[in-house]
């Protein structure tokens, strides 16, 4: 009888675990899931060319974060964590300062038809030594045009009105992700060559997801 009771409870636990796995994540007991707040975030991609500087903007930064409830609360000492942070940015939402035609050029070079989103996963968050509270080094995996590269990026994570705001800047080389920098032609002449390096500056606002 004891054995069958244990078996029943074990089976029940297995079923619950399976349900959680099916839901896509297993939250630690005190973990909180944060989801993006609409119309509150922004990302700017700054680039250069032989003719003029350019930029592309979006305010759609999707994804989620799962962090301990005490994370960045200003009370607990910051520690290195391996959080679950996944970011997705639709390539189509990036709008260039060069207008519609430059958007089309950008989408073509980022292989939009095949890879519709830019993805970023945080692998590790480490508090920056000697820095103010909320400053971290994020080790992450950035996927552009289907090619994934890891990088290190300083970020600031702070609580603002109950929300978590993540800000940061990083430099990325297009060629590292297999993207050939665009070189549009004018009157049959390749006068414009886009610079390989772009700077990504972002501000991502998330809020605790209602249970």
């Amino acid at each position: 009888m004891l054995t069958s009771s244990l078996t029943a409870r074990f089976s029940k636990a297995l079923i619950c675990l399976g349900a959680l796995l099916a839901a896509g994540s297993i939250l630690a007991a005190d973990a909180v899931r944060y989801t993006p707040v609409p119309n509150s975030s922004k990302l700017r991609m700054d680039g250069t060319s032989t003719i003029h500087d350019w930029h592309a903007d979006t305010d759609i930064i999707g994804g989620f974060m799962e962090l301990e409830a005490t994370f960045a609360d200003g009370k607990s000492a910051p520690v290195s964590v391996k959080p679950t942070i996944a970011v997705k940015i639709p390539v189509r939402s990036l709008k260039s300062s060069g207008g519609k035609r430059m958007d089309a050029v950008m989408q073509e070079h980022m292989k939009f038809e095949q890879f519709k989103v830019i993805e970023y996963r945080v692998l590790e968050l480490t508090p920056k030594a000697g820095a103010a509270a909320g400053q971290y080094e994020a080790k992450g995996a950035l996927t552009l045009a289907g090619v994934t590269k890891t990088n290190m990026m300083p970020v600031t994570i702070e609580r603002v009105d109950g929300k978590l705001k993540v800000t940061g800047t990083t430099a990325v080389k297009m060629t590292d992700h297999g993207i050939k920098p665009p070189a549009p032609e004018i009157a049959g002449i390749s006068l414009i060559r886009t610079g390989d390096e772009v700077k990504l500056k972002f501000e991502w606002v998330t809020e605790p997801k209602a249970p």
Binding site: P36, P38, I51, G62, S93, G98, K100, R101, A187
Partner: protein
């Protein structure tokens, strides 16, 4: 048409001086779109977005023009056609192979594959079609005027305003014309001084009457000649000029006086074949307008007169006529000139940078696209923009948050086009001008006629 694209060596000092200025050269190397040669008028534009599946409702003469122009748009695919008259339906279908043909617009609205509809029916039939199309989730292009009554125009405008995630564009095609935008920018620099008056005219000898063996059909196709169903010349033609005047003045008229007569076409019609109107704008600037179906002399033109110069617009061309005491702008010394009735006009062309300057008498080719083509290009681009934005937003955030979605859509950068607001304002101006014409009177225009509650 250029047969060879120019090379860097072609830009020598002589051409540089003839062609313009530092500003011209810089504009060639900067963000202005350049092409080696102007594409032939009938060639489809290069596509930069997915094809929008379109339906056209109303296949009379103008509806068939809509079909033909849409066919040349790279971002359009005509998948549905509608007209209550089978002959028109079959005639238009030859230009849109593969499109389904229906005799009831509701069948088109039920078709989930149709993303956008173009409403080209008689004006008095617009309201129900447009409102139901918006309710069905379609993007809508509605020919101007929106309606024949202020009440109906407001109903359409309200439905368009409230359809946050859909594109609504009235058929004020000049609002998408790059030449017109270029001219507005030039005028706003103050180059013509203080506005004195604005004139517009439309003269074209034609009947507007169609014949049919069937009396009911004849009445239907001659809706433009009936006071009940038509705003006459003011609504069918004048609306574009009234909108142009308001755009130039950056204000709406405060009053309108009108006159009209049936001078030539005494065939039982109820609307005048010849009209004159004066639109009063704030600051004492008057807009003078005349239109006739009885004479073609001097065709169509708009003239803005200022204390330093006048600008005349005809079709896709424009000229600057300077006063003898006006300040020198500098560039006019090198610009091409034409003589009109002993007045010398300086050509104002938006795409002047395409000239290589090798022949100082060579006419700079103006844009070959029609205002209608530019309007459709903007509409289709905006539809793609909104469709993509809605997909990306709902995939990222809570799809049920309509308010947040509407805020996101409102922040999108759209291609230049008339909105429901300009459509309402121009339609009300046309309605009241027609009313003034029919009553040979002056009407003071109430602000609330132009506004939604």
């Amino acid at each position: 048409m250029n047969s060879q694209p120019p090379s860097a060596a072609d830009f020598n000092r002589r051409d540089f001086i003839r062609g313009g200025s530092i500003a011209t050269l810089m504009s060639m190397l900067g963000g202005v779109e350049l092409k080696a040669a102007e594409a032939p008028k009938d060639a489809p534009a290069k596509s930069s977005g997915p094809k929008v599946k379109c339906g056209v409702i109303g296949l009379g003469a103008w509806g068939r023009e809509v079909v033909g122009t849409l066919q040349r748009q790279a971002e359009a695919q005509i998948v549905s056609l509608c007209d209550t008259y089978g002959v028109m339906l079959r005639r238009a279908a030859t230009n849109a192979p593969g499109a389904t043909a229906v005799d009831d617009y509701r069948k088109m609205l039920e078709d989930k594959s149709v993303q956008a509809v173009f409403v080209a029916t008689p004006t008095h039939l617009h309201k129900d079609i447009v409102i139901e199309a918006l309710q069905a989730g379609k993007h809508v292009y509605c020919e101007a005027p929106l309606a024949t009554t202020v009440e109906d125009a407001k109903a359409i405008a309200k439905a368009a305003r409230d359809a946050g995630a859909q594109v609504f564009q009235p058929g004020l095609s000049l609002r998408s014309d790059p030449q017109r935008h270029f001219l507005l920018s030039f005028i706003r620099t103050g180059a013509i001084g203080k506005d004195v008056m604005v004139r517009a005219q439309w003269h074209k000898k034609q009947s507007w009457r169609f014949t049919s063996a069937n009396p009911d059909r004849e009445k239907e196709i001659n809706w433009r000649l009936s006071k009940e169903t038509s705003l006459g010349l003011a609504g069918e033609i004048g609306i574009h000029h009234f909108d142009g005047m308001a755009w130039l003045q950056k204000d709406l008229p405060t009053a309108v006086t009108g006159f009209g007569s049936i001078i030539h076409w005494n065939d039982g019609r109820e609307v005048p074949d010849t009209i004159q109107a004066v639109l009063e704008f704030p600051g004492g600037v008057q807009g003078m307008y005349d239109a006739t179906l009885a004479n073609s002399f001097d065709g169509e033109s708009e003239v803005l007169l200022g204390t330093d110069a006048a600008v005349m617009m005809r079709g896709n061309k424009a000229w600057l006529f300077k006063e003898v005491d006006s300040p020198l702008l500098g560039w006019e010394v090198y610009a091409r000139k034409e003589v009109f009735y002993k007045e010398t006009g300086i050509a104002l062309v938006a795409n002047a940078s395409k000239s290589t300057g090798t022949d100082e008498n060579a006419e700079i080719p103006a844009y070959t696209n029609t205002p209608l083509a530019f309007a459709f290009e903007s509409f289709l681009a905006n539809v793609n923009e909104v469709v993509g934005a809605v997909e990306d937003f709902t995939a990222t955030f809570d799809a049920a948050d309509k308010k947040a979605l509407a805020k996101h859509i409102a922040g999108l950068k759209m291609q230049r086009a008339a909105t429901w607001k300009e459509g309402l304002e121009a339609t009300v101006t046309a309605i009241k001008t027609n009313e003034a014409i029919l009553g040979a009177k002056r009407i003071v225009l109430q602000k609330d006629w132009f506004q939604l509650a």
